[in-house]
Symmetry: C2
Subunit: 149 residues, 2 copies
Amino acid sequence: MTRWLDADEQHTWRNFLAATQLINEALDRQLQRDASMPHTYYMILVALSEAPGRSMRMSELAARAQSSQSRLSHAVARLEERGWVRRERCPDDGRGSFAVLTDAGFAALAAAAPGHVEEVRRSLFDVLTPEQVHRLDEICVAVRNTLEG
Amino acid sequence: MTRWLDADEQHTWRNFLAATQLINEALDRQLQRDASMPHTYYMILVALSEAPGRSMRMSELAARAQSSQSRLSHAVARLEERGWVRRERCPDDGRGSFAVLTDAGFAALAAAAPGHVEEVRRSLFDVLTPEQVHRLDEICVAVRNTLEG
DNA sequence: CTCAAGTATATGAGAGTTCAACTAAATTGG
DNA sequence: CCAATTTAGTTGAACTCTCATATACTTGAG
């Protein structure tokens, strides 16, 4: 038999859906408006900027940027058109390729970052007490440990 | 000056993004696989099923289902094609229209619900202690109160 | 060495989302 | 009562995402 949600669980669930969607929409709107990119592209640029040589294998980049491989492949194609990323063939493995953040891409990220971080604060950290932030972290870790396996 | 995130905040932020995305992907995959609909459509059907007469004005439906008006308008068009929803003109206000859940739509929702609820449990409630669920609820309420204004 | 199976990535089609018009009807202020 | 404004909803285009499939290379068994 289905274990339905009780009234409290339903409220929590709806609050969760509403809150997370509000945050995601706020992020996407801000980045689209001020930096002409969706949040997924921002995450890709961040991941690349932190990699040694600002360069990463596509599959590892997908993992770091929380993207499917297909989504990443399409996204990198668009980022290449903008001149923010370029691909390089992988010498060790003929199937593989690297995505490399260009200087223009790094500049675009640097320009976008302050506004994005402000939005992150406005949407989440400024709203919560430090205690709540800590609780939220534990919750998210628990979810990741379960769903990522 | 930009108030950058410190190391702890960054970890929390990344855990948050990962966890919420994992949950959303799990929901969408399950519904798409087992009920051939995205989660947004499911939310629309739920909202309609709870309305008196299983009928609601488009703008109120958009609010309840956490959808933009444009998204809702497109979605209802698709749901009409499936015979799950139909539109009715609003007699009081010539600009308005009602979306009405059909019997077929209600049946589709009833068929989808058990699998969806199982997925919600697997993804969130089974992962957390009751205490954590309660903390999460408070956090989500705080976010809603701030961002919904 | 060779062939089957596996891995890394790309691609195309179909579907959903967003944004900016656009239509049409209601409201308001003079 | 009418022009100006606001409100309800739709639409089309551009874009992103997903899923299935295709391509190209690598690996391992025999």
